[in-house]
Symmetry: C2
Subunit: 197 residues, 2 copies
């Protein structure tokens, strides 16, 4: 099973040569992490990307008043990393924590960059990942600037269709940038409209 899901992910996303694929998979490390444990803490330099084969993680920051703010969740088939910290070799502003016992593939980010230098299909793949990331972040900014609590919640369900029952409500509210009370209100109103999920 080692690397199986990641292999499927790669082969469905890029036209990759089997030798390059094998070289990459060999460089990856299969890691497991128990619920509540951390892959990264604020202040540490992030060195790896993690592909989630099984489980669920969150990336979040803690502000000066001790309040948590969730940047993203990472369920199965998502990547989680702090690209900023990896690339600029700077202490991270984020924590990455397992919300469930999880199985991950740990990928050396610098190896990915060097592979992209040597291999055109890999360069294309890395570009796609980076642009997907930019797309996700831009969408999130526009949403935080403009969407109502209900729109944010409906969007959350679209982006993360299967994690609503796996994540505490307070964390969903934190991700959405609304209070837990607003989230409860929205859920009640949607239930009243016979919204099924």
């Amino acid at each position: 099973m080692n690397g199986f899901t990641f292999t499927s992910f790669l082969t469905s996303n890029i036209d990759i040569d089997k030798n390059v694929l094998d070289e990459l998979i060999q460089k990856c490390k299969h890691v497991t992490i128990a619920k509540n444990n951390f892959l990264l803490r604020q202040g540490e330099i992030c060195k790896s990307a993690f592909f989630v084969e099984q489980g669920l993680l969150r990336q979040f920051s803690i502000d000066e008043k001790g309040k948590e703010h969730i940047l993203q969740f990472a369920p199965e088939s998502w990547f989680v990393t702090d690209r900023e910290s990896v690339y600029f070799n700077q202490p991270s502003n984020y924590f990455i924590q397992a919300l469930e016992d999880s199985t991950l593939l740990q990928i050396d980010e610098n190896f990915i960059l060097s592979l992209a230098e040597q291999n055109k299909s890999f360069l294309a793949f890395n570009n796609k990942l980076l642009h997907n990331h930019i797309r996700y972040l831009q969408k999130r900014i526009t949403q935080l600037l403009s969407a109502t609590a209900e729109e944010r919640y409906l969007d959350f369900i679209k982006i993360y269709p299967d994690i609503l029952l796996r994540v505490p409500q307070a964390m969903v509210a934190s991700y959405l940038g609304i209070t837990p009370e607003s989230l409860s209100r929205v859920r009640k109103e949607l239930a009243g409209k016979n919204f099924k999920k």
Copy 2:
């Protein structure tokens, strides 16, 4: 003067071969745009990046209620583009509009990607731009989730030190995701604290 600022920007950011630099500059088009005119409108597919040599632009969306939300400002030495639209060849969610008469270098994004395939220093440069972009977007999300109006305003002054007097207050408030009234209050409070800018 054609391409001068952009050339300085490039040579100070990458170790670029003169021939590659000349090839790139030849592919760029020098364009001017009058105040209030648009480089891109919501629904159009974005094909280019623009490097601002002189002037000021904004990238914004308009929500269903007709309200504007500013994603970024682009003063001198900034790039402005919708990478998502360019890369995925999809209609843009954004407008790009000149707030002042501006002089720009128009860069074919697909040419940049093909140059990155052929030239390692250019690949490194493009990676740096993409990661800088991700850094900027992540910071903005964390700020929108967690910062007070005052913190947002102080951060704005750091990111855009010289545009405060060039942009209407309502647009600054829109960028910060706060009401114009909150912005006025923050400015008065900071003036009361003898904050100089």
